[in-house]
Amino acid sequence: MSSHPHPSEPVGVTFAALTRPEAPAARYSALTGFRTLFYKEALRFWKVSFQTVAAPILTAMLYLLIFAHVLESRVKVYEGVSYTAFLIPGLVMMSMLQNAFANSVSSLIQSKISGNVVFILLPPLSHWEIFSAYVLAAMVRALVVGAGVLAVTVWFAWPNWSAPAWILTFALLSSAVMGTLGLIAGVWAEKFDQVAAFQNFVIMPATFLSGVFYSIHSLPTFWQNASHANPFFYMIDGFRYGFFGTSDVSPWTSLGVVCVTLLVCAATAIRLLKTGYKLRP
């Protein structure tokens, strides 16, 4: 094998005369690729935060105003918990799920369609690094949006904070699941239309029908059973347990379902990235 310099070192004679003498030499680190992609993904949504953060917070607040106004005096879900207070964790989690998904999928599909995905395909980024950076950035956006929704809705009804560890656990795991699903959809989709279809016909109904606005105990038996097949139900139910200490199913069951969902989604996404499915044809 031929000997050659490390890529962080110049080849042959450098442009020494042109390089600022006081300038420090570039540093190479194995983790920098991942960190940079994560930073870029986070910066990407932050630069358009009016659309990616403020808008979903406003939407969640509108849901709260309308549903709470209409149903506050008519619906009683848990003993000692007002409907508005019940609604808040559901809205927070729904916003987190939708935004975690949107972050990964919109970034990838935009990059694919505009062609700039080549900038992450040419460097020596591994499938693990790409996966981790996209999912972590999606989680950050989800947490920022979730915190924002919580901050503007708690003024209407102060929820209990029965088990903060469960709140954090379900917030992190659920946004990771949705960031991963967004990644899968982004790799698979070839046009915006397919992404919109996935978002509007799968993600949106699944999040709406997962118990955001009601307890599944208020549903007929068939729909109760159907809800148990919806992983999003467990995300919201477990998250809500953290606030009220009561839920439709045990938080441990919810944790198990969410963990298995995350593992399946993560394994699928990593497999797609490793094989270069639709990215490296």
């Binding site: 094998m1 031929s2 050659h4 310099p5 890529p7 962080s8 070192e9 110049p10 080849v11 042959g12 004679v13 450098t14 442009f15 042109l18 390089t19 600022r20 300038a23 420090p24 030499a25 570039a26 540093r27 190479y28 680190s29 194995a30 920098t32 690729g33 960190r35 940079t36 992609l37 930073y39 870029k40 910066l43 990407r44 630069k47 358009v48 990059s111 505009s114 062609g115 700039n116 080549v118 900038f119 992450i120 395909l121 040419l122 460097p123 020596p124 980024l125 591994s126 270069g276 490296r280 044809p281």
Partner: protein
Amino acid sequence: MSAAIRIQNVRKRYGALEALAGVSLEIGEGEFFGLLGPNGAGKTTLISIIAGITRADSGSVAVLGHDVITDYRMSRKLLGVVPQELVFDPFFTVRETLRIQSGYFGLTRNDAWIDEVMFHLDLTNKANVNMRALSGGMKRRVLVAQALVHKPPVIVLDEPTAGVDVELRQTLWKFIRRLNQEGHTVVLTTHYLEEAEALCQRIGMLKAGRVVALDSTAALLARISGRQLLLTFREGHLPADLEAYALDPEGAARARKVTLRLHEMANLEMILARCRTSGAVIEDVELQGADLEDVFVQIMQGASA
């Protein structure tokens, strides 16, 4: 000379289309290599396989000894690619774009080199301008800068001067030549054959996914023994029996200026003598050597025969 890029029997098929039909090629370290071919010849597919953004159906590619599939991290670190498509990320400024690209290659505190690359590509005063606000030529410069941001020993430029002004071409070639002189291997695809002729030490020609010529530029030019003879007549015209020598035989016998292809220098005296005996008076004679375009046309015609 060891291989900067070693391509062994690479095949790639897109459905019924055979984009690469068993390409084997070696590009030496420090070479300035030209990859030429008509549209659809497979140049970009080959470059995409070298860069790891397309996977070959069979065969292997290695960059400085590192396989692009099994040792992709090292091979990609050693490679800088300027893609053909004018792509950019609309969220960032030029400096942010270059810092991010640098980071993808594992580099931090790389601003000294980023500044230098921007200086050489006349991008310094655009450093803080958003990519969306740049002209096409400026975006092309940023693409080149992105490919060089990690100082790759092997640089691949896929039609980097397509649709850009003369100023950028000159700026770019000056910089790339300098990098080549410092030891970087450069692989260039271009439709501007005069660029390839002026810059490349060796040239490979692809047609329909096959290598149809691979030699030093000088040797390729020497393959064309034919030169061109430009005759300007003061009186009379080209004799009809010499029309076969004309580049454009139609109307050659009536034209005042005519260009003839000289397959052998020995024909020169015969042509001039024949013109004299036909009563024509020649005002001016000009003899031109072959250029790469002639070689290209001849090889492509030969390959299709």
